[in-house]
Symmetry: C2
Subunit: 382 residues, 2 copies
Amino acid sequence: MSSTPNFPSSPYAPLQNDTFLRACLRQATDHTPVWLMRQAGRYLPEYCATRAKAGSFMGLATNRDYATEVTLQPLERYPLDAAILFSDILTVPDAMGLGLSFALGEGPRFATPVRDEAAVAALEVPDMNKLKYVFDAVTSIRKALNGRVPLIGFSGSPWTLACYMVEGKGSDDYRLVKTMLYQRPDLMHKMLAINADAIALYLNAQIDAGAQAVMVFDSWGGVLADGAFQEFSMAYTKRVLAQLQRTGVDGAIVPRLVFTKGGGLWLDEMGGLDCDELGLDWTVNLARARAQVGGAVGGPGKALQGNIDPNVLFAGPAHIQAQVRKVLDAFGKPHAASPDNPAQTGPAHIFNLGHGISQYTPPENVAVLVDEVHRYSRLLRA
Amino acid sequence: MSSTPNFPSSPYAPLQNDTFLRACLRQATDHTPVWLMRQAGRYLPEYCATRAKAGSFMGLATNRDYATEVTLQPLERYPLDAAILFSDILTVPDAMGLGLSFALGEGPRFATPVRDEAAVAALEVPDMNKLKYVFDAVTSIRKALNGRVPLIGFSGSPWTLACYMVEGKGSDDYRLVKTMLYQRPDLMHKMLAINADAIALYLNAQIDAGAQAVMVFDSWGGVLADGAFQEFSMAYTKRVLAQLQRTGVDGAIVPRLVFTKGGGLWLDEMGGLDCDELGLDWTVNLARARAQVGGAVGGPGKALQGNIDPNVLFAGPAHIQAQVRKVLDAFGKPHAASPDNPAQTGPAHIFNLGHGISQYTPPENVAVLVDEVHRYSRLLRA
């Protein structure tokens, strides 16, 4: 019996595999669900082919049909338990007018970074119509999935967007954004509040368009100092979460996921966030994380997502399988389904990488990983 | 009364400021000692001038007189409590024959990286004569210091050297070295054992040459997964520590410092290392770290070093001062000197950045930081 019933009014096909959504809500599942951050990406030749047709990354991301095509590609290859919208974390600042582009072989770049008081003063929550291409893609993907697995929508976190907005591109020292943070915390707070409100609108619109879970990627939260993380990243993730709709177009609960790369030291504090699931990178000990925030059977807590090192996928099949088992064993046995209360909560694990999959990953190795997660996690429950 | 007496047989001038060494040994000091990782570096115009004379980074590092000159430069500007040998962490693999070079504007690069079984099989602990230029520099600097402050020697950790040896240069994903780690752990262990033994010889030779403390920089330990860190980094740092001499040429104890960037999650385990002091980056909460491994008055424990974000130095003086106080307050009051037992141990803090100083740092801001550490840490003790 599913906890995410498909209401008669739903415009979408009934969900056939709700394992991921159940695990997010800390309900028992018969296997550990698995999906991979950046699972639709350059390691897949079919992705590269579609991107070549689209001409550019943004050409791909802004075209509903291409975005649908690449989102579904990894599901054709692997029995993944969730799909994630193909898009970029920087669509929101782009809609703010910063001019996002992707030069070939380089990361994202903004034409007009936000580096002074005037630039911050000019920032506004963008008109969501400018992001219609994203919501159209969500609806198109949801339809194309036809109930196969749930669709995750996402956004970068307020702080992560701010990093790119100030630096104008990727950085290895975050000098410009941290200079603003330390020198003009007032400007930084102003920017983060606008980002948070924009992200909340953006995620809610994704939910309205059909997203069945939403994830906040705090990719750069881990570069902050203790104290600064709480004030400049976590506080604004909280502001996003407080504004999120709790149910989707079909009336089902929409789990809220938060992933702070490098955030393991702040896990106790993140346990207080009003979200359903916390993502972990590979530096975190899953057993300890479970003890910290995983909660008890029947009680509250966070589902945990992660956390294998993506570089494991460069080893041979036997090594990959062994490392998969190590991660599943580290989390330990999830709680078992109670026949008379299938919605009972308890410690739950969603298998994922600790960061996005590398573009150099041999696609056949991903199949080994996914299969071993399914096989061994069933065994763990037996 | 100093706990680091200058023995009659010492060839060096008596130490005038032993605050750093005392703090490393968790003895009380009247202020919190401060030095900065990479304090002799590109942010100083006088450093750039010397480097220009030397022609290249390695020209600078391999010349005893230049190395002495640049090591002392920051001490001329700021009342720092320690000097650190000017050198590079990659001198040891260079001596192994890997061919280190520094292209202008780029990081280090090895001509012949270690990427297969044959290359690992060919690795050997290098003849320390090949590193004589380092030991000559140590002696020259120690003499030039003339007892002003103690001299810290250092090396990269076995794992950090392995990262560069396999990747051949800096990396943002550590794909090649981690592929070897996951696919051929036997090769990785072999390389790490050789590295550890070479590093131990290297540090002992620095001690013989006059180094008064030695530091192991595990700059890339934090990129490892939980479990892999313990097996491939910490275990080999331990192997280095086990081989280190405990006293220097003058009979004084030589404190052993270990810094794992991104290692905050493993602090409890690192508390078991046979070293005197642990370095922390800015993500670590100093109060919690003190509670974890700082020890009690009269008991064992680790001195803690760190951990301000180097980017604080891009803010204005008042902001820098406030952030310095925040770090000192986070550690809290160090234990007070006991009149009848000046060598009594207790929680001790050495102020430092959480990583190397940025080349873009305005030199005048460093003065603000150092002065505020001295001023406020005296106040804290009052």
